[in-house]
């Protein structure tokens, strides 16, 4: 079991020694059981920290803000930022390291093991409780969750309410960290691509109409992009404001510049946006599942990214985010790479 006291102790130690600039963990929202990211700046604030099955956020995303802040400030504080990461989150740190977006000493990592469980899916929890309101959601004994409802304790088997991504997770233990809490327990994720097996059985035209239907609902709120630990470009192609502006670009050229994607939620623009994002995440997405979780219209974005993950694995034997020294997928070329899918 991950000890919350130990977590607090580690954070306190890091903050009071001045080793880290500030710490990002999780705290409860008000007196409820739900959780939000917590920015801990003072050692005495560590008591705000929690570690519960509702800590689904991938905090790595906040490193983008820190990087931009540093670029903005004249004399930035370059001490590392402390982060609490799960196995999946830690893989996204590895990808950022691969892409030289951050350096190892930009971040102080407290890794927490998901052991035999993971984080929950709120919809599944609500369905399971059938209208009852939980007061607390906690980790139970081996492989269960403990939910307090009406001052009663209910024990729920993890697979019943686990987030989909956790059911297919190949990394329940942090792959990179300065301190690790909890035990490394081997867990067999079963079929890592379970969630796409139904999709893969669809014919091409069925898939096309499936995605058309899904993307037609997109509001282009860009929540998926905002929450993604990999979407760190200062200028996203989806915004394309200055993409071809150079010293030599004339005012005339700027004036007639059009965008790759217009930000109006039309089907063709939506498809373009999502497909560009999927391609840009190929070989980079660690399946933290945050995009799908935050989508207000519940577009199954994990399906798209998971499919790309599987392609990269099957075609090129590429696993994302286990090794910070591994080159990015697009930069790996071997003469014997398969080519028969090029038509």
């Amino acid at each position: 079991m991950v000890s919350l006291d130990q977590l607090k102790e580690e954070v306190k130690k890091a903050l009071s020694s001045g080793k880290v600039k500030y710490f990002i963990g999780y705290e409860n929202i008000g007196s409820g059981w739900q959780v939000r990211p917590a920015f801990i700046r003072q050692p005495e604030d560590v008591d705000r920290l929690v570690w519960t099955p509702a800590c689904f956020h991938n905090l790595v995303r906040f490193l983008h803000d820190e990087k931009r802040r540093r670029a903005r400030e004249k004399n930035p504080d370059i001490r590392p930022v402390g982060l609490v990461v799960k196995g999946c989150d830690s893989r996204s740190i590895n990808v950022l390291l691969q892409e030289k977006y951050i350096e190892r000493n930009d971040v102080y990592i407290i890794g927490v093991s998901c052991e035999l469980t993971g984080v929950i899916n709120i919809t599944k929890l609500n369905q399971h409780l059938n209208g009852l309101k939980p007061q607390k959601v906690l980790f139970g004994s081996k492989g269960t969750f403990k939910v307090i409802v009406d001052d009663r304790e209910i024990e729920i088997e993890a697979p019943d309410i686990l987030a989909d991504r956790c059911l297919e997770c190949p990394a329940n233990f942090p792959v990179i960290a300065d301190v690790i809490l909890g035990e490394e327990i081997k867990r067999n994720p079963g079929n890592r691509y379970q969630s796409i097996s139904a999709y893969e059985k669809m014919a091409l035209d069925e898939r096309w109409s499936f995605w058309q239907q899904q993307f037609s609902r997109c509001l282009r709120c860009y929540a998926c992009r905002s929450v993604c630990p990999m979407c760190y470009c200062d200028e996203c192609v989806a915004d394309s404001i200055a993409y071809a502006v150079t010293a030599e670009t004339t005012a005339d050229e700027k004036a007639q510049k059009t965008r790759w994607v217009e930000r109006n939620p039309e089907l063709s623009e939506n498809i373009f946006y999502h497909l560009v994002r999927a391609i840009h995440l190929a070989g980079r997405c660690v399946d933290c599942g945050e995009c799908e979780r935050v989508c207000p219209v519940e577009i199954p974005l994990r399906l798209l990214n998971k499919k790309m993950e599987k392609e990269a694995k099957e075609l090129f034997g590429y696993e994302v985010g286990f090794d910070p020294a591994q080159p990015p997928l697009i930069a790996c070329f071997r003469d014997n790479d398969p080519q028969d899918f090029i038509r």
């Binding site: 892409e99 760190y232 470009c233 030599e248 510049k257 059009t258 790759w260 990015p328």
Partner: protein, 650 residues
């Protein structure tokens, strides 16, 4: 204020036959910003170019589109014309309406529409083009020749005679290549070594040729005019300056391995000289064979004991030599197709089934039998010899589809020479066709048939097997339709010609392409037959395609001339359409650095930086960048987007 001129070429009927060129010009004249549009029968002709020059001057054009053939053909022509008219040449672009339109379509109305779309796209591109200046690079006035066969020797001599330094690299211990193994050469039957060795000596004595035998190219970087090459000099363990060629060492060496020079028909010692006229004249210890070389050395050292001048040095180490060269000639030659692929002909199973080079060695005065034709099995003179042509060649189902070209001629020579040695013998040749195109070649084959009574049988051999001391050849004569069985004493296989072993590795190091059969690919099959696709790297000899000696020598001189054209210049100019980094978009992820095939990009202070001299403008970086932070000049995503828009009629 855009003032674009559009010039549509008829190319005789090449374009005008399928595309309504008048309509293309008329439609483009209506395109916004196009102030001049006309068509002409041959734009590339002088009057055609003058039309462009005139229009630029009179209509004050700021950009030019020529709708014609592929830019690989006339882009330079029209850019030069543009330059002549006082406009920056990079303000001129080609719209390819021939290869990509008229030649591939039949329906005139649709082809015309497509030609209009293509041209519109290029109009939108060219008006966004920057005026660029060529990148200038200094030239290292030295050439590297890889391969010391006749082609490499000829190229080296030609370049060195023109006054430039040459480094000739050969992987085996001596230069000379396969030509040094041959007995006599068709169609004149002059002795191969007699005509080759003077050239070998010339190489060794030439003041401007640095000969590096027993060496291999390990790494090549750089670009035309400025290649950096790392050459691995393997240790021979014998100091050639001290060696007096007394040959005492081979008498005491206890190890015998197959002799490559005799194609395995004889053995050689672990310390050996490849052949008496070897250049450099020195011995080499084969480290794979010598027991003194293994870690668990049986302390042999017998050669060192008897070497009076003390030339043997077991402590010699591999050495990496780095050289700078301006041009490279690749002349790595050929090997015969792996005979183990030919089980039906019993090669390897029966000692008297030979390949062409082995038969050459039997014919050669310096060969294992002193020039007498004797069966390897029992040293008896064969009275019936069957020659089989196209073994592995012209066989797309099982082996190689191409014709190995030289086998018809050397088989005729073999059969003829056999008859000269064994007057009462009979030579049979199984052939598919006789290909004897070449000066005096046809006459030579006729001589074999008419004067020497060689029996030519048109057909293939299905099987060779041994029966009662004879090699039974089962074949068919397709002219008479009869099955043929010959009880032969010897069978000679004209094996397919393959690129020499290890050439694919070398091609990767040089970043030059191979064709579908594994030979080096030339830049253009007709017009650039001695150039590779990489500028500054030229091809010579059988590495490019099967060739006989005169062709290999001719191509070598051609490659040398091409190399000299580079070496004779002080500076080279390089296209300025190279990649550029947009620093504020670059996150320094280094993806472009790792995908660049020319090693032209590096990371400086967390941002990518392009070496314009190394960059070939291929755009791989641009395609890999998730942020559009690296773009090829005059072909940015913006250019492409506008071209697509114009093509789609937007």
């Amino acid at each position: 204020m855009k003032r674009t001129g559009v010039f549509v070429c008829h190319c005789g009927i090449n374009i005008a036959g399928t595309v309504d060129v008048k309509k293309v010009a008329a439609e483009l004249a209506k395109h916004p910003g196009v102030v001049h549009a006309e068509d002409y029968v041959y734009m590339c002709s002088d009057p055609g170019q003058n039309l462009i020059i005139q229009a630029i001057k009179e209509k004050k054009l700021d950009s030019v589109v020529v709708a014609c053939c592929s830019p690989t053909l006339h882009e330079t022509t029209f850019r030069n014309a543009t330059k002549k008219a006082g406009l920056n040449p990079y303000r001129c672009e080609i719209a390819n309406i021939r290869e990509q339109c008229s030649w591939v379509h039949r329906e005139k109305s649709k082809a015309t529409q497509k030609a209009i779309s293509i041209t519109r796209g290029v109009v939108e591109k060219v008006r966004r083009n920057e005026s660029l200046e060529d990148v200038s690079v200094p030239v290292t006035k030295r050439a590297l020749v890889i391969g010391g066969g006749i082609a490499g020797i000829q190229a080296s001599l030609d370049i060195a005679d023109a006054g430039y330094e040459v480094i000739l690299v050969e992987k085996s211990p001596s230069i000379g290549g396969h030509m040094s193994q041959l007995s006599e050469t068709f169609p004149t039957l002059d002795c191969s070594q007699c005509i080759l060795t003077p050239k070998m000596v010339e190489v060794s004595k030439h003041p401007r040729i640095k000969l590096m035998t027993y060496s291999e190219v390990q790494e090549v970087s750089g670009y035309v005019g400025n290649f950096k090459v790392k050459i691995l000099k393997k240790p021979t363990y014998v100091d050639p300056d001290k060696c007096t060629l007394c040959d005492e060492c081979t008498k005491v060496c206890p190890i015998v391995v197959p002799n490559e020079f005799d194609m395995g028909l004889t053995g050689r010692r672990a310390i050996y000289i490849p052949f008496p006229q070897a250049i450099p004249a020195s011995y080499t210890i084969d480290e794979k064979a010598c027991p003194g070389m293994f870690d668990t050395a049986i302390a042999c050292g017998k050669c060192a004991d008897v070497c009076k001048p003390g030339a043997i040095n077991f402590d010699m180490k591999p050495e990496i030599v780095e050289v700078d060269v301006g041009a490279i000639v690749v002349a790595t030659g050929y090997d015969l197709y792996d005979k183990s692929m030919m089980a039906e002909y019993g090669y390897g199973q029966y000692p008297d089934v030979l390949d062409g080079l082995q038969f050459e060695r039997l014919l050669s005065a310096s060969g294992p039998t002193g020039g007498r034709i004797l069966r390897p099995s029992d040293k008896k003179e064969p009275k019936e010899v069957v020659f089989i042509q196209c073994v592995g060649s012209r066989d797309p189902e099982l082996h190689w589809p191409y014709c190995s070209k030289i086998c018809c001629m050397y088989t005729a020579k073999h059969a003829m020479l056999y008859k000269h040695h064994v007057h009462d013998g009979q030579a049979y040749v199984f052939y598919i066709d006789i290909r004897s195109g070449g000066k005096n070649y046809e006459e030579f084959v006729h001589r074999a048939v008419e004067e020497d009574g060689v029996l030519y049988l048109r057909g293939k051999v299905s099987r060779v097997f041994e029966d009662n001391g004879k090699l039974i050849v089962w074949g068919v004569d397709t002219l008479t339709g009869k099955q043929i069985e010959i009880a032969a004493d010897m069978v000679v296989l004209a094996m397919a010609i393959r690129p020499s072993k290890g050439m694919d590795e070398l091609a990767k190091k040089l970043k030059i392409a191979l064709d579908k059969d594994g030979f080096l690919a030339e830049a253009h099959p007709k017009l650039r037959p001695v150039e590779s696709m990489t500028s500054g790297i030229f091809l010579a000899g059988a590495a490019q395609a099967p060739k006989d000696i005169p062709e290999a020598v001719g191509q070598a001189s051609g490659a040398a001339a091409k190399a000299m054209a580079i070496l004779s210049r002080d500076r080279l100019f390089h296209s300025p359409t190279v990649a550029r980094v947009i620093r504020n978009l670059c996150t320094g992820c280094g993806m472009c650095v790792s995908v660049c095939p020319f090693e032209a990009i590096s990371l400086k202070e967390g941002k990518a930086e392009v070496n314009e001299i190394l960059c070939e403008g291929c755009g791989t970086c641009s395609a890999s960048c998730l942020r559009n932070a690296i773009q090829v000049k005059n072909l940015t995503p913006h250019h492409i987007q506008e071209m697509i828009k114009a093509c789609l009629g937007g």
